[in-house]
Symmetry: C2
Subunit: 309 residues, 2 copies
Protein backbone atom coordinates (compact mmCIF):
# COMPACT_ATOMS: atom_id res chain seq x y z
CA UNK A 1 0.00 0.00 0.00
CA UNK A 2 2.40 2.69 -1.12
CA UNK A 3 0.86 6.13 -0.90
CA UNK A 4 1.38 8.61 -3.70
CA UNK A 5 2.84 10.80 -0.91
CA UNK A 6 5.80 8.46 -0.94
CA UNK A 7 6.38 8.53 -4.70
CA UNK A 8 9.16 11.16 -4.39
CA UNK A 9 10.82 9.25 -1.58
CA UNK A 10 10.15 7.69 1.80
CA UNK A 11 12.06 8.36 5.01
CA UNK A 12 12.40 6.96 8.49
CA UNK A 13 13.11 9.69 11.02
CA UNK A 14 12.30 10.01 14.71
CA UNK A 15 11.08 6.42 14.66
CA UNK A 16 8.37 7.09 12.03
CA UNK A 17 8.00 6.61 8.29
CA UNK A 18 7.20 9.87 6.50
CA UNK A 19 7.24 11.20 2.93
CA UNK A 20 10.71 12.54 2.08
CA UNK A 21 9.34 16.11 2.00
CA UNK A 22 8.64 15.86 5.73
CA UNK A 23 11.97 14.31 6.74
CA UNK A 24 13.98 16.85 8.71
CA UNK A 25 16.53 17.11 11.52
CA UNK A 26 16.73 19.81 14.20
CA UNK A 27 19.02 22.73 13.37
CA UNK A 28 20.78 22.08 16.70
CA UNK A 29 21.50 18.38 16.07
CA UNK A 30 25.24 17.76 16.36
CA UNK A 31 24.90 15.57 13.29
CA UNK A 32 24.56 18.94 11.54
CA UNK A 33 26.36 21.48 13.76
CA UNK A 34 29.45 19.29 14.15
CA UNK A 35 28.93 17.10 11.07
CA UNK A 36 29.03 14.34 13.67
CA UNK A 37 27.36 11.66 11.61
CA UNK A 38 28.19 8.67 9.43
CA UNK A 39 26.21 7.28 6.55
CA UNK A 40 26.05 4.73 3.82
CA UNK A 41 24.19 4.41 0.54
CA UNK A 42 23.03 1.19 -1.07
CA UNK A 43 21.25 1.00 -4.39
CA UNK A 44 18.24 -0.96 -5.47
CA UNK A 45 18.31 -2.30 -9.01
CA UNK A 46 15.13 -3.83 -10.43
CA UNK A 47 13.58 -4.32 -6.97
CA UNK A 48 16.71 -5.87 -5.48
CA UNK A 49 19.32 -4.37 -3.11
CA UNK A 50 22.90 -4.72 -4.36
CA UNK A 51 25.36 -6.01 -1.74
CA UNK A 52 23.11 -5.00 1.12
CA UNK A 53 25.13 -6.92 3.71
CA UNK A 54 28.36 -5.27 2.60
CA UNK A 55 26.78 -1.82 2.99
CA UNK A 56 25.35 -2.72 6.40
CA UNK A 57 28.75 -4.10 7.49
CA UNK A 58 30.47 -0.89 6.47
CA UNK A 59 27.80 1.28 8.05
CA UNK A 60 28.27 -0.54 11.35
CA UNK A 61 32.04 -0.16 11.13
CA UNK A 62 31.58 3.58 10.49
CA UNK A 63 29.26 3.91 13.49
CA UNK A 64 31.68 2.04 15.74
CA UNK A 65 34.60 4.18 14.59
CA UNK A 66 32.72 7.34 15.63
CA UNK A 67 31.08 5.75 18.69
CA UNK A 68 27.58 6.26 17.36
CA UNK A 69 24.99 3.86 18.77
CA UNK A 70 21.41 4.58 17.75
CA UNK A 71 18.76 2.39 19.34
CA UNK A 72 17.91 0.46 16.15
CA UNK A 73 19.89 -2.79 15.81
CA UNK A 74 21.11 -4.26 12.54
CA UNK A 75 18.05 -6.39 11.91
CA UNK A 76 15.81 -3.40 12.52
CA UNK A 77 17.91 -1.17 10.27
CA UNK A 78 17.68 -3.71 7.46
CA UNK A 79 13.91 -3.93 7.97
CA UNK A 80 13.65 -0.11 7.84
CA UNK A 81 15.57 0.05 4.55
CA UNK A 82 13.28 -2.56 2.99
CA UNK A 83 10.24 -0.67 4.19
CA UNK A 84 11.47 2.71 2.90
CA UNK A 85 11.92 1.26 -0.59
CA UNK A 86 8.64 -0.64 -0.48
CA UNK A 87 6.74 2.51 0.54
CA UNK A 88 8.01 4.36 -2.53
CA UNK A 89 7.15 1.54 -4.92
CA UNK A 90 10.42 2.26 -6.71
CA UNK A 91 12.18 -0.55 -8.61
CA UNK A 92 15.41 1.47 -8.88
CA UNK A 93 16.38 3.51 -5.88
CA UNK A 94 19.15 5.23 -3.95
CA UNK A 95 18.81 4.25 -0.28
CA UNK A 96 20.61 6.18 2.46
CA UNK A 97 21.16 5.21 6.10
CA UNK A 98 22.52 7.79 8.53
CA UNK A 99 23.55 7.74 12.20
CA UNK A 100 23.67 11.15 13.93
CA UNK A 101 25.12 12.25 17.25
CA UNK A 102 21.87 13.98 18.18
CA UNK A 103 21.63 16.40 21.10
CA UNK A 104 22.79 16.19 24.71
CA UNK A 105 20.43 14.72 27.30
CA UNK A 106 22.01 17.12 29.81
CA UNK A 107 21.31 20.76 28.94
CA UNK A 108 24.52 22.60 28.12
CA UNK A 109 26.70 19.48 27.93
CA UNK A 110 29.43 19.57 25.31
CA UNK A 111 30.22 15.86 25.66
CA UNK A 112 29.48 13.56 22.71
CA UNK A 113 28.84 10.74 25.21
CA UNK A 114 25.91 12.72 26.66
CA UNK A 115 24.02 12.74 23.37
CA UNK A 116 21.08 10.63 22.27
CA UNK A 117 22.26 9.19 18.96
CA UNK A 118 19.63 8.52 16.36
CA UNK A 119 19.12 6.80 13.06
CA UNK A 120 17.46 8.02 9.88
CA UNK A 121 17.04 6.40 6.49
CA UNK A 122 15.48 7.27 3.18
CA UNK A 123 14.85 5.87 -0.27
CA UNK A 124 14.87 8.18 -3.29
CA UNK A 125 14.49 7.63 -7.02
CA UNK A 126 17.81 6.53 -8.53
CA UNK A 127 20.07 9.35 -9.70
CA UNK A 128 23.50 8.95 -11.29
CA UNK A 129 26.42 10.91 -9.75
CA UNK A 130 27.36 11.65 -13.35
CA UNK A 131 24.56 12.02 -15.88
CA UNK A 132 24.06 9.17 -18.39
CA UNK A 133 24.89 11.54 -21.28
CA UNK A 134 28.24 12.45 -19.73
CA UNK A 135 28.91 8.78 -18.96
CA UNK A 136 28.28 7.94 -22.62
CA UNK A 137 30.81 10.47 -23.94
CA UNK A 138 33.21 9.84 -21.06
CA UNK A 139 33.53 12.19 -18.09
CA UNK A 140 35.98 15.10 -18.05
CA UNK A 141 37.93 14.83 -14.81
CA UNK A 142 39.67 17.83 -13.27
CA UNK A 143 42.71 17.19 -11.06
CA UNK A 144 41.95 19.51 -8.14
CA UNK A 145 44.47 21.89 -6.63
CA UNK A 146 43.01 21.47 -3.16
CA UNK A 147 44.67 18.55 -1.34
CA UNK A 148 42.57 15.75 0.19
CA UNK A 149 42.28 15.82 3.99
CA UNK A 150 44.98 13.43 5.33
CA UNK A 151 43.84 10.01 6.56
CA UNK A 152 45.38 10.78 9.97
CA UNK A 153 42.97 13.72 10.47
CA UNK A 154 39.85 11.84 9.50
CA UNK A 155 39.70 8.19 8.41
CA UNK A 156 38.29 8.25 4.85
CA UNK A 157 37.08 4.64 5.19
CA UNK A 158 34.47 5.97 7.67
CA UNK A 159 31.80 7.25 5.30
CA UNK A 160 31.08 10.82 6.31
CA UNK A 161 29.57 14.12 5.24
CA UNK A 162 32.68 16.28 5.63
CA UNK A 163 32.87 17.12 1.96
CA UNK A 164 34.61 20.51 2.25
CA UNK A 165 37.73 19.57 0.30
CA UNK A 166 35.70 17.55 -2.22
CA UNK A 167 33.29 20.46 -2.74
CA UNK A 168 36.22 22.82 -3.30
CA UNK A 169 37.53 20.41 -5.92
CA UNK A 170 34.11 20.22 -7.55
CA UNK A 171 33.86 24.03 -7.74
CA UNK A 172 37.33 24.13 -9.34
CA UNK A 173 36.24 21.52 -11.87
CA UNK A 174 33.10 23.40 -12.83
CA UNK A 175 35.04 26.68 -13.10
CA UNK A 176 37.27 25.01 -15.68
CA UNK A 177 34.39 23.45 -17.58
CA UNK A 178 34.99 19.94 -16.31
CA UNK A 179 32.35 17.49 -15.06
CA UNK A 180 33.90 16.53 -11.76
CA UNK A 181 37.18 16.43 -9.85
CA UNK A 182 39.72 14.03 -8.42
CA UNK A 183 41.80 15.05 -5.40
CA UNK A 184 45.43 14.18 -4.65
CA UNK A 185 46.89 14.21 -1.16
CA UNK A 186 49.63 16.62 -0.11
CA UNK A 187 52.27 14.05 -1.14
CA UNK A 188 50.88 13.94 -4.68
CA UNK A 189 49.14 10.58 -4.53
CA UNK A 190 45.70 10.22 -6.09
CA UNK A 191 42.84 9.69 -3.61
CA UNK A 192 39.14 10.02 -4.54
CA UNK A 193 36.57 12.46 -5.85
CA UNK A 194 33.22 13.77 -4.61
CA UNK A 195 31.32 10.53 -4.19
CA UNK A 196 33.46 8.08 -6.14
CA UNK A 197 36.65 6.02 -6.26
CA UNK A 198 38.97 6.22 -9.25
CA UNK A 199 40.66 3.49 -11.30
CA UNK A 200 43.30 3.73 -13.99
CA UNK A 201 44.21 1.25 -16.70
CA UNK A 202 47.85 1.09 -17.78
CA UNK A 203 49.25 -1.59 -20.09
CA UNK A 204 46.21 -3.77 -19.45
CA UNK A 205 46.57 -3.52 -15.68
CA UNK A 206 43.90 -1.95 -13.45
CA UNK A 207 44.94 0.14 -10.40
CA UNK A 208 43.05 1.98 -7.69
CA UNK A 209 44.51 4.10 -4.84
CA UNK A 210 45.40 2.52 -1.52
CA UNK A 211 44.92 5.72 0.51
CA UNK A 212 42.83 8.81 1.07
CA UNK A 213 39.67 7.14 -0.08
CA UNK A 214 36.64 5.13 0.91
CA UNK A 215 36.77 1.37 0.55
CA UNK A 216 33.95 1.58 -1.94
CA UNK A 217 31.57 -1.32 -2.44
CA UNK A 218 31.59 -0.64 -6.19
CA UNK A 219 35.40 -0.51 -6.00
CA UNK A 220 35.31 -3.98 -4.40
CA UNK A 221 32.90 -5.13 -7.11
CA UNK A 222 35.24 -3.90 -9.85
CA UNK A 223 38.16 -5.76 -8.28
CA UNK A 224 35.97 -8.88 -8.12
CA UNK A 225 35.00 -8.47 -11.78
CA UNK A 226 38.66 -8.08 -12.78
CA UNK A 227 39.47 -11.34 -11.01
CA UNK A 228 36.64 -13.18 -12.74
CA UNK A 229 37.53 -11.70 -16.15
CA UNK A 230 41.24 -12.48 -15.82
CA UNK A 231 42.24 -8.79 -15.71
CA UNK A 232 45.22 -8.01 -13.50
CA UNK A 233 44.15 -5.52 -10.79
CA UNK A 234 45.74 -4.04 -7.70
CA UNK A 235 45.17 -1.58 -4.85
CA UNK A 236 48.35 0.48 -4.77
CA UNK A 237 49.89 3.94 -4.29
CA UNK A 238 48.94 5.94 -7.37
CA UNK A 239 51.17 8.95 -8.08
CA UNK A 240 49.48 11.80 -9.91
CA UNK A 241 51.80 11.29 -12.90
CA UNK A 242 50.42 7.77 -13.38
CA UNK A 243 46.87 9.14 -13.53
CA UNK A 244 47.93 11.69 -16.14
CA UNK A 245 49.71 9.00 -18.13
CA UNK A 246 46.95 6.37 -17.93
CA UNK A 247 45.61 4.50 -20.98
CA UNK A 248 42.11 4.63 -19.50
CA UNK A 249 40.47 6.06 -16.40
CA UNK A 250 37.11 5.22 -14.87
CA UNK A 251 35.21 6.09 -11.70
CA UNK A 252 33.29 3.76 -9.42
CA UNK A 253 30.37 4.60 -7.14
CA UNK A 254 27.12 3.16 -5.86
CA UNK A 255 25.22 5.99 -7.53
CA UNK A 256 26.45 5.29 -11.04
CA UNK A 257 28.43 2.05 -11.07
CA UNK A 258 31.42 2.06 -13.43
CA UNK A 259 31.73 5.48 -15.13
CA UNK A 260 34.34 5.90 -17.90
CA UNK A 261 36.45 9.05 -18.17
CA UNK A 262 37.51 10.57 -21.51
CA UNK A 263 39.69 13.46 -20.29
CA UNK A 264 41.96 13.98 -17.29
CA UNK A 265 42.84 17.65 -16.91
CA UNK A 266 44.01 18.95 -20.30
CA UNK A 267 44.89 15.43 -21.44
CA UNK A 268 42.61 13.52 -23.76
CA UNK A 269 42.60 9.76 -23.22
CA UNK A 270 42.62 7.41 -26.21
CA UNK A 271 40.18 8.77 -28.80
CA UNK A 272 38.31 11.06 -26.36
CA UNK A 273 35.80 8.29 -25.66
CA UNK A 274 35.33 5.66 -22.93
CA UNK A 275 38.15 3.12 -23.13
CA UNK A 276 37.59 -0.54 -24.11
CA UNK A 277 38.53 -2.08 -20.76
CA UNK A 278 36.39 0.50 -18.91
CA UNK A 279 33.44 -0.39 -21.14
CA UNK A 280 34.04 -4.11 -20.65
CA UNK A 281 33.89 -3.63 -16.87
CA UNK A 282 30.88 -1.32 -17.06
CA UNK A 283 28.97 -3.79 -19.21
CA UNK A 284 29.91 -6.71 -16.95
CA UNK A 285 28.87 -4.73 -13.87
CA UNK A 286 25.34 -4.14 -15.14
CA UNK A 287 24.98 -7.52 -16.87
CA UNK A 288 25.76 -9.27 -13.62
CA UNK A 289 23.15 -7.07 -11.93
CA UNK A 290 20.61 -8.47 -14.38
CA UNK A 291 21.76 -11.97 -13.45
CA UNK A 292 21.04 -11.37 -9.74
CA UNK A 293 24.63 -10.80 -8.56
CA UNK A 294 24.76 -10.12 -4.76
CA UNK A 295 21.02 -9.44 -4.87
CA UNK A 296 18.59 -9.20 -1.95
CA UNK A 297 14.99 -8.82 -3.18
CA UNK A 298 13.14 -5.88 -1.63
CA UNK A 299 10.50 -7.29 0.71
CA UNK A 300 7.01 -6.14 -0.14
CA UNK A 301 4.91 -4.55 2.56
CA UNK A 302 2.87 -6.80 4.85
CA UNK A 303 -0.26 -4.99 3.63
CA UNK A 304 0.56 -5.96 0.04
CA UNK A 305 1.30 -9.56 0.93
CA UNK A 306 -2.05 -9.72 2.72
CA UNK A 307 -3.75 -8.19 -0.32
CA UNK A 308 -2.24 -10.75 -2.69
CA UNK A 309 -3.39 -13.80 -0.67
Amino acid sequence: MQSSNFADGAAYVGGRFVPIQEAAIPVTDWGFTRSDAVYDVVHVFHAGFFRLDDHLDRFHRSMQARRLAPKENRVQIEEILHRCVALTGLRDSYVAMVALRGRPRIAGSRRPADCDNHFIAYALPWVDVISPEVQARGAHLWIAGVPRVPDACFDPTVKNYQWGDLTTGLLEAHDHGFDTAILCDAEGFVTEGPGFNVFIVKDGRVLTPDRGSLHGITRASVLELCLSLGIEAAVAPLPRALLEDADEVFLATTAGGVMPVARVGRRILGNDRPGPLSMQLKDAYWRKHEEGWHRTPVRVLAEERAGSL
Copy 2:
Protein backbone atom coordinates in the same frame (compact mmCIF):
# COMPACT_ATOMS: atom_id res chain seq x y z
CA MET B 1 5.24 40.21 22.66
CA GLN B 2 7.48 37.18 23.25
CA SER B 3 5.50 33.97 23.44
CA SER B 4 6.33 31.39 26.07
CA ASN B 5 6.84 29.09 23.07
CA PHE B 6 10.00 31.06 22.37
CA ALA B 7 11.43 30.85 25.90
CA ASP B 8 13.71 27.91 24.99
CA GLY B 9 14.88 29.65 21.86
CA ALA B 10 13.67 31.32 18.69
CA ALA B 11 14.67 30.45 15.15
CA TYR B 12 14.38 31.85 11.66
CA VAL B 13 14.15 29.09 9.07
CA GLY B 14 12.47 28.92 5.66
CA GLY B 15 11.77 32.64 5.94
CA ARG B 16 9.65 32.30 9.13
CA PHE B 17 10.22 32.76 12.86
CA VAL B 18 9.46 29.59 14.83
CA PRO B 19 10.15 28.21 18.31
CA ILE B 20 13.50 26.44 18.36
CA GLN B 21 11.77 23.07 18.81
CA GLU B 22 10.26 23.46 15.34
CA ALA B 23 13.44 24.59 13.58
CA ALA B 24 14.61 21.86 11.22
CA ILE B 25 16.38 21.31 7.92
CA PRO B 26 15.62 18.65 5.30
CA VAL B 27 17.66 15.44 5.62
CA THR B 28 18.66 15.91 1.97
CA ASP B 29 19.97 19.49 2.36
CA TRP B 30 23.59 19.63 1.21
CA GLY B 31 24.25 21.79 4.25
CA PHE B 32 23.88 18.48 6.06
CA THR B 33 24.78 15.76 3.54
CA ARG B 34 27.96 17.56 2.40
CA SER B 35 28.45 19.74 5.49
CA ASP B 36 28.29 22.49 2.90
CA ALA B 37 27.50 25.35 5.25
CA VAL B 38 29.19 28.17 7.13
CA TYR B 39 28.11 29.75 10.37
CA ASP B 40 28.91 32.27 13.03
CA VAL B 41 27.91 32.76 16.64
CA VAL B 42 27.57 36.09 18.43
CA HIS B 43 26.65 36.44 22.06
CA VAL B 44 24.22 38.76 23.77
CA PHE B 45 25.29 40.02 27.19
CA HIS B 46 22.73 41.91 29.27
CA ALA B 47 20.52 42.65 26.26
CA GLY B 48 23.38 43.82 24.06
CA PHE B 49 25.15 42.05 21.19
CA PHE B 50 28.94 41.91 21.56
CA ARG B 51 30.88 42.92 18.44
CA LEU B 52 27.93 42.24 16.18
CA ASP B 53 29.53 43.94 13.17
CA ASP B 54 32.68 41.87 13.54
CA HIS B 55 30.64 38.67 13.57
CA LEU B 56 28.59 39.78 10.56
CA ASP B 57 31.79 40.74 8.71
CA ARG B 58 33.28 37.32 9.36
CA PHE B 59 30.06 35.53 8.46
CA HIS B 60 29.99 37.33 5.10
CA ARG B 61 33.63 36.47 4.48
CA SER B 62 32.85 32.81 5.25
CA MET B 63 29.88 32.83 2.87
CA GLN B 64 31.95 34.40 0.10
CA ALA B 65 34.75 31.89 0.57
CA ARG B 66 32.30 29.01 0.05
CA ARG B 67 30.21 30.85 -2.60
CA LEU B 68 27.08 30.76 -0.48
CA ALA B 69 24.56 33.47 -1.29
CA PRO B 70 21.25 33.20 0.54
CA LYS B 71 18.60 35.73 -0.43
CA GLU B 72 18.76 37.72 2.84
CA ASN B 73 21.15 40.68 2.67
CA ARG B 74 23.29 41.94 5.53
CA VAL B 75 20.74 44.43 6.82
CA GLN B 76 18.05 41.75 6.80
CA ILE B 77 20.32 39.24 8.54
CA GLU B 78 21.06 41.75 11.28
CA GLU B 79 17.33 42.44 11.67
CA ILE B 80 16.64 38.70 11.90
CA LEU B 81 19.22 38.24 14.66
CA HIS B 82 17.70 41.10 16.66
CA ARG B 83 14.24 39.62 16.24
CA CYS B 84 15.31 36.09 17.24
CA VAL B 85 16.72 37.42 20.51
CA ALA B 86 13.77 39.73 21.13
CA LEU B 87 11.32 36.85 20.62
CA THR B 88 13.01 34.82 23.35
CA GLY B 89 13.08 37.67 25.82
CA LEU B 90 16.58 36.53 26.83
CA ARG B 91 19.06 39.07 28.24
CA ASP B 92 21.97 36.65 27.78
CA SER B 93 21.96 34.55 24.65
CA TYR B 94 23.96 32.53 22.18
CA VAL B 95 22.93 33.60 18.66
CA ALA B 96 23.80 31.49 15.62
CA MET B 97 23.61 32.44 11.94
CA VAL B 98 24.04 29.73 9.29
CA ALA B 99 24.19 29.71 5.49
CA LEU B 100 23.48 26.36 3.83
CA ARG B 101 23.96 25.13 0.28
CA GLY B 102 20.40 23.82 0.15
CA ARG B 103 19.18 21.51 -2.60
CA PRO B 104 19.51 21.62 -6.38
CA ARG B 105 16.82 23.41 -8.37
CA ILE B 106 17.45 20.86 -11.13
CA ALA B 107 16.52 17.32 -10.07
CA GLY B 108 19.57 15.09 -9.99
CA SER B 109 22.12 17.91 -10.36
CA ARG B 110 25.34 17.44 -8.44
CA ARG B 111 26.48 21.02 -9.01
CA PRO B 112 26.74 23.35 -6.01
CA ALA B 113 25.91 26.26 -8.34
CA ASP B 114 22.50 24.69 -9.05
CA CYS B 115 21.42 24.86 -5.42
CA ASP B 116 19.12 27.32 -3.70
CA ASN B 117 21.21 28.55 -0.76
CA HIS B 118 19.33 29.51 2.35
CA PHE B 119 19.83 31.23 5.66
CA ILE B 120 18.80 30.17 9.14
CA ALA B 121 19.40 31.79 12.52
CA TYR B 122 18.53 31.07 16.11
CA ALA B 123 18.89 32.51 19.60
CA LEU B 124 19.32 30.16 22.56
CA PRO B 125 19.87 30.70 26.28
CA TRP B 126 23.57 31.35 26.96
CA VAL B 127 25.67 28.22 27.64
CA ASP B 128 29.40 28.18 28.36
CA VAL B 129 31.59 25.88 26.23
CA ILE B 130 33.26 24.97 29.52
CA SER B 131 31.08 24.92 32.64
CA PRO B 132 31.54 27.78 35.16
CA GLU B 133 32.71 25.27 37.80
CA VAL B 134 35.47 23.98 35.54
CA GLN B 135 36.39 27.54 34.56
CA ALA B 136 36.74 28.41 38.28
CA ARG B 137 39.19 25.57 39.02
CA GLY B 138 40.89 25.91 35.64
CA ALA B 139 40.22 23.58 32.71
CA HIS B 140 42.21 20.38 32.17
CA LEU B 141 43.37 20.45 28.58
CA TRP B 142 44.32 17.29 26.71
CA ILE B 143 46.83 17.56 23.84
CA ALA B 144 45.13 15.41 21.22
CA GLY B 145 46.91 12.74 19.20
CA VAL B 146 44.76 13.42 16.15
CA PRO B 147 46.31 16.13 13.96
CA ARG B 148 44.29 19.19 12.92
CA VAL B 149 43.13 19.23 9.29
CA PRO B 150 45.72 21.26 7.33
CA ASP B 151 44.77 24.81 6.35
CA ALA B 152 45.37 23.92 2.69
CA CYS B 153 42.56 21.31 2.79
CA PHE B 154 40.00 23.56 4.44
CA ASP B 155 40.57 27.17 5.47
CA PRO B 156 40.03 27.24 9.25
CA THR B 157 39.24 30.98 9.15
CA VAL B 158 36.00 30.02 7.37
CA LYS B 159 33.80 29.05 10.31
CA ASN B 160 32.41 25.62 9.53
CA TYR B 161 30.78 22.53 10.98
CA GLN B 162 33.43 20.00 9.92
CA TRP B 163 34.35 19.08 13.46
CA GLY B 164 35.52 15.51 12.83
CA ASP B 165 39.10 16.01 13.99
CA LEU B 166 37.97 18.24 16.87
CA THR B 167 35.40 15.64 17.98
CA THR B 168 38.06 12.92 17.88
CA GLY B 169 40.24 15.12 20.10
CA LEU B 170 37.33 15.70 22.47
CA LEU B 171 36.66 11.97 22.75
CA GLU B 172 40.36 11.40 23.52
CA ALA B 173 40.23 14.10 26.21
CA HIS B 174 37.17 12.60 27.89
CA ASP B 175 38.69 9.10 27.75
CA HIS B 176 41.65 10.44 29.71
CA GLY B 177 39.50 12.32 32.22
CA PHE B 178 40.23 15.76 30.76
CA ASP B 179 37.72 18.54 30.14
CA THR B 180 38.58 19.33 26.54
CA ALA B 181 41.30 19.04 23.93
CA ILE B 182 43.72 21.12 21.92
CA LEU B 183 44.93 19.91 18.53
CA CYS B 184 48.36 20.32 16.94
CA ASP B 185 48.96 20.16 13.21
CA ALA B 186 51.06 17.43 11.59
CA GLU B 187 54.17 19.64 11.95
CA GLY B 188 53.67 19.86 15.71
CA PHE B 189 52.36 23.42 15.91
CA VAL B 190 49.47 24.19 18.23
CA THR B 191 46.19 25.11 16.46
CA GLU B 192 42.80 25.25 18.22
CA GLY B 193 40.31 23.12 20.14
CA PRO B 194 36.62 22.26 19.71
CA GLY B 195 35.10 25.72 19.71
CA PHE B 196 37.93 27.85 21.06
CA ASN B 197 41.29 29.50 20.41
CA VAL B 198 44.19 28.95 22.79
CA PHE B 199 46.65 31.41 24.36
CA ILE B 200 49.78 30.81 26.36
CA VAL B 201 51.58 33.11 28.77
CA LYS B 202 55.38 32.79 28.98
CA ASP B 203 57.58 35.24 30.86
CA GLY B 204 54.78 37.80 30.91
CA ARG B 205 54.22 37.57 27.16
CA VAL B 206 50.94 36.37 25.61
CA LEU B 207 50.99 34.22 22.46
CA THR B 208 48.31 32.66 20.27
CA PRO B 209 48.79 30.40 17.20
CA ASP B 210 49.09 31.93 13.75
CA ARG B 211 47.76 28.85 11.93
CA GLY B 212 45.22 26.04 11.90
CA SER B 213 42.64 28.09 13.72
CA LEU B 214 39.75 30.48 13.43
CA HIS B 215 40.42 34.18 13.70
CA GLY B 216 38.25 34.29 16.78
CA ILE B 217 36.44 37.47 17.75
CA THR B 218 37.23 36.73 21.41
CA ARG B 219 40.84 36.13 20.34
CA ALA B 220 40.83 39.60 18.77
CA SER B 221 39.26 41.00 21.95
CA VAL B 222 42.02 39.44 24.09
CA LEU B 223 44.71 40.95 21.86
CA GLU B 224 42.95 44.31 22.16
CA LEU B 225 42.80 43.97 25.95
CA CYS B 226 46.50 43.12 26.11
CA LEU B 227 47.29 46.26 24.15
CA SER B 228 45.20 48.43 26.46
CA LEU B 229 46.64 46.78 29.59
CA GLY B 230 50.24 47.10 28.41
CA ILE B 231 50.73 43.33 28.12
CA GLU B 232 52.99 42.21 25.28
CA ALA B 233 51.04 39.92 22.93
CA ALA B 234 51.67 38.27 19.57
CA VAL B 235 50.15 35.97 16.98
CA ALA B 236 52.95 33.52 16.19
CA PRO B 237 53.88 29.92 15.43
CA LEU B 238 53.42 28.01 18.68
CA PRO B 239 55.36 24.72 18.88
CA ARG B 240 53.78 22.09 21.11
CA ALA B 241 56.78 22.26 23.48
CA LEU B 242 55.99 25.90 24.20
CA LEU B 243 52.42 25.00 25.19
CA GLU B 244 53.72 22.30 27.52
CA ASP B 245 56.24 24.71 29.01
CA ALA B 246 53.87 27.67 29.42
CA ASP B 247 53.52 29.64 32.65
CA GLU B 248 49.79 29.98 32.01
CA VAL B 249 47.31 28.82 29.40
CA PHE B 250 43.82 30.09 28.67
CA LEU B 251 41.15 29.53 26.04
CA ALA B 252 39.06 32.11 24.22
CA THR B 253 35.62 31.68 22.71
CA THR B 254 32.36 33.53 22.18
CA ALA B 255 30.55 30.95 24.29
CA GLY B 256 32.63 31.45 27.41
CA GLY B 257 34.96 34.39 26.93
CA VAL B 258 38.39 33.96 28.53
CA MET B 259 38.65 30.52 30.16
CA PRO B 260 41.74 29.73 32.25
CA VAL B 261 43.46 26.33 32.07
CA ALA B 262 45.05 24.64 35.12
CA ARG B 263 46.51 21.53 33.47
CA VAL B 264 47.94 20.76 30.04
CA GLY B 265 48.22 17.02 29.53
CA ARG B 266 50.00 15.53 32.55
CA ARG B 267 51.55 18.89 33.41
CA ILE B 268 50.11 21.05 36.20
CA LEU B 269 50.45 24.78 35.60
CA GLY B 270 51.47 27.06 38.48
CA ASN B 271 49.55 25.99 41.56
CA ASP B 272 46.90 24.00 39.67
CA ARG B 273 44.66 27.07 39.50
CA PRO B 274 43.90 29.76 36.93
CA GLY B 275 47.00 31.92 36.44
CA PRO B 276 47.14 35.60 37.47
CA LEU B 277 47.46 37.07 33.99
CA SER B 278 44.64 34.81 32.70
CA MET B 279 42.42 36.02 35.54
CA GLN B 280 43.35 39.64 34.86
CA LEU B 281 42.28 39.24 31.23
CA LYS B 282 39.13 37.32 32.14
CA ASP B 283 38.09 39.99 34.65
CA ALA B 284 38.85 42.79 32.19
CA TYR B 285 36.89 41.01 29.45
CA TRP B 286 33.71 40.88 31.51
CA ARG B 287 34.19 44.23 33.25
CA LYS B 288 34.41 45.91 29.87
CA HIS B 289 31.23 44.10 28.84
CA GLU B 290 29.51 45.76 31.81
CA GLU B 291 30.87 49.09 30.56
CA GLY B 292 29.25 48.64 27.13
CA TRP B 293 32.34 47.65 25.16
CA HIS B 294 31.52 47.01 21.45
CA ARG B 295 27.86 46.81 22.43
CA THR B 296 24.80 46.93 20.15
CA PRO B 297 21.56 47.00 22.19
CA VAL B 298 19.06 44.35 21.14
CA ARG B 299 16.15 46.11 19.45
CA VAL B 300 12.83 45.40 21.08
CA LEU B 301 9.98 44.13 18.95
CA ALA B 302 7.80 46.65 17.15
CA GLU B 303 4.82 45.25 19.06
CA GLU B 304 6.56 46.07 22.36
CA ARG B 305 7.53 49.55 21.25
CA ALA B 306 3.92 50.18 20.28
CA GLY B 307 2.77 48.83 23.62
CA SER B 308 5.10 51.10 25.59
CA LEU B 309 3.93 54.29 23.90
